[in-house]
């Protein structure tokens, strides 16, 4: 395509890329500012004229973050909650997805329809009763409340079923004739063949949990149970406004997801795109 686009085409190309690069600049800039602000002392962060890059690498914000806030604890909580939620949600989705993909049974269609019908249901519909339920169960301010309610994900069933439809029935029948138990078939044949969709679901559920804000906001009250998402905004109170430390925490809190993204780029994009189906 580069051959024979002519002078006009060449000019358009330069112009087009210039505009696209401005867009990239605008997209990246807030991140640059976040990282840079995390290395600035408050006096420099709130001084005029505003400068993008710090004068020199000030580490006080990080010292404050690790020394005087529970950031490390929040980070550990986020990791624990996200992992637990992800592992359980993947297990439930794969098992049910397998049933929908490879078995005939009564009420199959209505059950599947029920699951799909709740795909676009906004969380806000159930927020109030779910909160009351947590109170009744005595789960307020516990990890249970953060983990369990979000482990039955309709999107997971949808994705798992889609993938598992592709497993040849002969393979399962052969294993049955060889005397394998149904659970054995699931763990030794189905799960290994489901690796791609496991990765997609893993990324989708992990990031959703990592970034969740409103639910921890509602059910958590004690600082030591906070997740990163809930902890960071709590640093900006009416009296303390440690923006430098908040930016340091934002930077560190975003890193795990960025690293997962860089490792699993293709699956990651698939996962996020699948997640949007949820609405």
């Amino acid at each position: 395509m580069t051959v024979g686009i002519g002078v006009r085409g060449r000019i358009l190309q330069i112009l087009g890329n210039a505009i696209l690069l401005v867009g990239v600049f605008l997209t990246i800039m807030p991140f640059v500012y976040m990282v840079s602000a995390s290395f600035k002392p408050g006096s420099e962060l709130f001084s005029i004229p505003v400068r993008v890059l710090p004068d020199d690498l000030y580490l006080g914000n990080y010292e404050l973050l690790f020394g005087e806030t529970s950031f490390l604890r929040w980070f550990a909580n986020s990791v624990f909650v996200a992992l637990a939620r992800t592992v359980i949600a993947i297990t439930l989705s794969l098992m049910a997805g397998y049933a929908f993909a490879k078995f005939e049974f009564r009420f199959k269609r209505p059950l599947f329809f029920l699951v799909i019908a709740t795909l676009t249901l906004p969380l806000y519909v159930i927020l109030v009763p779910l909160f009351s339920m947590m109170a009744t169960l005595g789960w307020m301010d516990t990890y249970w409340a953060l983990i369990l309610p979000f482990t039955a994900q309709a999107i997971g069933i949808f994705l798992a079923r889609q993938q598992l439809l592709g497993i040849p029935n002969e393979l399962l029948e052969a294993a049955r004739i060889d005397g394998a138990s149904e659970w054995g078939i699931f763990t030794r044949i189905v799960v290994p063949l489901a690796q791609p969709v496991i990765a997609v679901m893993g990324i989708l559920f992990f990031t959703a949990s990592w970034n969740d804000y409103i639910w921890p906001l509602i059910v958590l009250t004690s600082d030591e149970k906070f997740t990163v998402s809930l902890g960071l905004p709590s640093l900006i109170g009416p009296y303390d406004q440690e923006y430098g430390a908040v930016m340091a925490g934002s930077f560190l809190g975003t890193l795990p997801i960025v690293i997962i993204f860089l490792i699993f780029q293709r699956r990651f994009i698939e996962g996020i795109m699948a997640g949007a189906l949820k609405g």
Binding site: I5, S47, T118, S229, L232, P233, M247, A276
Partner: protein, 320 residues
């Protein structure tokens, strides 16, 4: 929506030999077989019934009751729903959220389409450059709304913000972006566009990849200009993708919470109050649970109507 997912490496359809095996399966001990699928379904559906279905029903019941805090609910019929139409703050939130959804429809979606078209066109010749743009514009999507809100809180800060510093440098007037009744909502919209531009153009790119190049090449050979090719070949074939992107963006817009809540708390004077922020305030600060449930259901009705519209239009496109 299956077309969207089938691209994602998911396998096409059940294999044909299934039919051959079916008689054999029917002949086997039915007792053990019959219960197997239900055992696989049980864990999911137990969690699903407790934490989703029950609250959905409970919220519906609650929306016809008055219940403040932990008081005993009293049945009030349609009172909560009637209040919605008279509650100025609710209507303001509905208006704000609709304006915001409008921006998704009329600004975000066209911009995303333009971006996708540009990245795919001859303007970006090398594959490396294409994937550079894809990744760069995608970055906001791997950032949590909380971090985005905190980050832009600094960008929009009246005295020390990056935006005002930039405006000052080029000799333009500065503004108190988040504290101004006129500018707060546009500021939030700007943040949302920044956040969702990348993912939406990825959807469009996926849709564009499904359109065979031969069609537009044939049209160009017949002497059509680039614009004519776009208007008569690309755009009609892209209709399902456009529909998907637009409806998803609108549904998602109606549920926005984190960004306005953290950046402005819905203020100033409710200028950025959204339905979700209002629901949070009613349900978890005023503990007016019945009314909050009604607000929640009004959101669900909007989502269901939009999803239904999408389904209808999909059918119409397919029958074309």
């Amino acid at each position: 929506m299956a077309w969207q997912l089938s691209r994602n490496g998911a396998v096409a359809a059940a294999s044909a030999p299934a039919a051959v095996l079916r008689p054999a399966r029917a002949g086997r001990a039915p007792g053990r077989r019959a219960i197997t699928p239900y055992l696989f379904l049980a864990p999911f559906f137990i969690v699903y019934a407790i934490f989703l279905l029950y609250p959905v029903i409970d919220a519906f019941r609650l929306s016809f009751n008055e219940r403040i805090g932990i008081s005993t609910p009293t049945f009030v019929g349609l009172e909560n729903y009637r209040t919605l139409f008279e509650d100025e703050r609710y209507l303001k939130a509905l208006l704000n959220t609709t304006l915001y959804a409008g921006a998704s429809l009329f600004i975000l979606s066209p911009l995303a389409l333009l971006l996708a078209l540009a990245v795919r066109s001859f303007l970006v010749p090398s594959a490396n450059l294409k994937s550079f743009y894809r990744i760069a514009y995608f970055l906001p999507n791997i950032t949590s709304f909380v971090v985005i809100a905190l980050m832009f809180g600094l960008v929009f800060d009246a005295n020390y913000g990056l935006l005002n510093a930039f405006l000052e440098a080029i000799g333009q007037p500065t503004h108190n972006w988040l504290r101004s009744e006129d500018l707060a909502l546009p500021s939030i919209v700007l943040v949302a566009i920044w956040t969702f531009l990348g993912i939406n153009s990825l959807y469009f790119l996926a849709g564009l990849q499904n359109i065979p190049d031969e069609l537009s090449e044939a049209a160009q050979l017949d002497g059509a200009t680039r614009f004519q090719v776009f208007w008569t070949v690309t755009l009609p074939l892209l209709k399902p993708t456009i529909l998907f992107v637009v409806v998803q963006a609108i549904i998602f817009s109606y549920q926005i919470f984190d960004i306005p809540f953290l950046m402005t708390r819905g203020g100033p004077s409710d200028a950025t109050l959204t339905l979700a922020v209002y629901l949070y305030e009613i349900g978890f600060q005023r503990f007016d649970q019945g009314y909050a449930a009604a607000i929640g259901y009004s959101l669900a009705v909007i989502s269901i109507l939009l999803a239904g519209l999408q389904l209808l239009l999909f059918r119409a496109f397919r029958d074309d």
